[in-house]
Homo-oligomer: 169 residues x 2
Amino acid sequence: MHSMEFQSGFQSITDGRREHVDPVPVTREDVAARLRAHGIAPTHQRIEIAHALFERRAHLSADQILAAVNARHPEASKATVYNTLKLFLERKLIRELIVDPVKIFYDPNTTPHHHFYDVVTGELTDIPADALRIEGLPSLPPGTVAEGIDVIIRTRPLGAGEPPPGPAL
Amino acid sequence: MHSMEFQSGFQSITDGRREHVDPVPVTREDVAARLRAHGIAPTHQRIEIAHALFERRAHLSADQILAAVNARHPEASKATVYNTLKLFLERKLIRELIVDPVKIFYDPNTTPHHHFYDVVTGELTDIPADALRIEGLPSLPPGTVAEGIDVIIRTRPLGAGEPPPGPAL
DNA sequence: ACTACCATTAGACAAAGTCCAGATCCTGCA
DNA sequence: TGCAGGATCTGGACTTTGTCTAATGGTAGT
Ligand SMILES: [Mn+2]
Ligand SMILES: [Mn+2]
Ligand SMILES: [Zn+2]
Ligand SMILES: [Zn+2]
C-alpha cells in the first residue's frame, strides 16, 4: 500500500470567477514516488502531468492540463496527455468527473468526496465526504458490482432580480 | 399546472443487454397535450420526438432519438432533434443525464430519482427517489442556488473470475 | 396575396478525444 | 561502448457529438 499523504496546504480561495487552491510546493520527487507507488514508471512527461494536477489540487480538463504542462516550453503532446490521463485513471492515481457535457475533468483527489457544479460558470467545488450522508443504497442491478458513487449538486449563480435562496434545494 | 400522469405500465425488463421498458401506448394527442402544458407549440416534429421518448420511457441519446424518430420515414433532421431537445430541457419536459463521457442521455422522467450507470455496457437504470436518502446537504457556494442533485452509482459487470459482491459499495 | 414570425433543414463548422505509424528514449547485455 | 528490444512519445489524420448559419417552409392575420 502506498501511504504517502498530501502535505498540509491552505484552503480554497475564491477569486470571483474560478475556484482554485493555492499551489502547494510538491516536488517532482514527491510526484515520482507517487507514480511508482501506483505502479507507473515516472517518465518526464508523466511527472509533469501529475505535477500539474497535484500542485494545483484543482479539477482540470485535459486541455487545461496540456496548457499548464506546456506553459513554459513544450513538455508533452496532446496524445501523451490523453494517454497518460487514461493510465493514471486505470491505476487510480486520479479520478474522472463526468459533469460537463463537453469535457471531462480530472480530480487529483481520489478520496471519497462529492461536488458542486455550477452549470453556468462551469465551476467545480468539493463537498467533503462527511458533509452529507447517503442512507441505504439500493440493491445493484443483478450481475454488477459498484465502482463508486458520484453525487453532483448542480447550482447556478443567483442572477440579478433573483429571490434570495430558500432553505434547501 | 399540468396534471397529466404517466399511465400505468409494466416494469422494467432485462433482455440481457439493454435495460428497457415496454412501450406504452401513448397517443400523439397525449403528447401534444403534454407539450402544450409546458408551453411548447406541438409541431409534427416535436410530437414525434416527444413521442419517441415518452413511449419508450427510456434514457436515450440524441442519436438514438434521431434514429427512432426516422425509423419508418424521415420525420426530423438532426438540427431539429438537437434544437427540440434543448427546448424540451428549457421547458423542463425532460431531463438531461451527464453520465457518459461522450454523449448526453435524455430522460423523459423529470420526477426526482437517481441512476445506476454501468461504465462498461453504458446501461442506465433508474433508482427510485425513496430508495436512498441524502442526509444534510451542505451549504451552497456563496451566490449560487441549487438546481438539482444527481446521484450516479457507477457499476461494472462482475466479470469471469470475479469475487462475489460483498455487502455494499 | 402579402407580411411577419416561428420552425425546420442541409451542410459547414467546432471541439474533444482516439488512433496509428514512425521516431525516441531507455535498459540490459555483449 | 555498441546494440537490440521494449516502452514511451509524437504529429497529424480521423471520428464523434454537438453547434451554427443562411435559406426555406409553414401558418395566421389582414
Ligand atoms: Mn521540463
Ligand atoms: Mn409522420
Ligand atoms: Zn474533487
Ligand atoms: Zn431516469
